[in-house]
Amino acid sequence: MTKRLVIPGELVTEERKKLGSHVFVNEGKIYSDSIGLVNDESDYASVVPLEGKYTPQEGDLIIGVISAEKFSVYTVDVNSFYQSIISKKELREIVKPGSVVSAKIYKVNELNEMELGNPRLFFGGEIIEIGPVKIPRVIGRDGSMLNSLKEGTNSSIIVGRNGRIWAKGGDLDLLRKAIKKIENEAHTENLTNKINEFLKKNSPKIEKKAKVEEEEMESEE
């Protein structure tokens, strides 16, 4: 299943296919609106973009950074087009500007403004950022890539759909390198196998996995 690289305004197909995402119609022909990949064998005319900011979707788990405190809410940077807000009543823990939280997107309006819920504060660990469009590759089909990463590095990992990945414990250096590799090769085939090989070649000593709140916070994939 080879994929074809297209740029904005480039022809996707002249056939009458069902319309997927990141395409538009002009005089009966379907064009791409982004730089991305097209699967010519699909029934859908669709482009998977290789660049771009995070477009919020209901139900997504995201990782945000508290940016300011207001009277009854905190504003949160979610690496999208606007900041979002979390009501102080929703928070069980004490946060301040700079605190990193995970949250679920409850609602998104037509302006891409989102309502966040179930905020949880992260303790320790670190954040790795990658382009949000590459996140599906970090998760993989049925979570296969994410499992490979967890097992291969022994780290606790939580993936935010908005391009932020929280990780703690295990071989974080190896994890960072693996994620960078995924980001650079997101548009290639066979990525899960390549990453598995990469992790095996550089596999860390088996350490006791640190106990974290990961189980509570894990979103269904």
Binding site: S67, A68, K96, G98, S99, V100, G124, G125, E126, I127
Partner: protein
Amino acid sequence: MRPELWDLRVDKVVADLKNGSRADGRKVDEVRKVVLTKDVSENADGQARVKLGETEVIAGVKMVLGTPYPDSPGQGSISVGAELVPMADPTYENGPPRSDAVELSRVVDRGIRESKTIDFSDLCIVEGEQVWIGFVDIYIVNNAGNLFDACGLAAISALFDTKMPKLEDGRIVHHEYNGKLKLKHKPILNTFAKIGNTVIADPSNFEEKAMSARFSVTVTEDNITAFQKGLAGSFSVSEIDNAIDVAYKNSKQMRKFV
């Protein structure tokens, strides 16, 4: 307000330093990789592009004809300016220079001007009437931390590269040159960040977010030609003395690029 300050990342920088390690694997007094090229502008009389790690700045020199100050009729001058172009950082905006841009320009300028690197009487054409003014303009392309040292290196390298425009009947002849600008020294700017109780050289972006104080020192082969302490924290005199030693050491390497 964009929350560039993330607790987790700042905590990590501080914790790592307690173990003597930095995110990119450098030692506390180690400077990032430097790449210096002269591919900025054919219209410049002198030029330099500096990449210090991922921080990138471009500098160009234009020698301009001017009139001398009344109290120094036989002296030309130089003027160094750095602009925080809105392309280099999401927080930069169009408009008049912020105080940090002004500080940056003046610190870079001071280290070169006060170091007697250029004999300003060399820049005199007709005493009391016409002198050369060397404008060094620096534009930030990508801010990945430590603009001071990147701009310092770019400025002195561009000046070192500068050819003197040919004059005919008191006017500049474009694209024709007559010799080079004479510089006696190669002053190098070295900046340090204090994080917790550790002082590190050449702070990167996230290290700058974690720093409580900043110290810059310009040195020639033998002497100190500028100090600047910035931000609201403080340094002990032994930290300053140690930084000066590191500055002398690191400058030897940096000077090779000029």
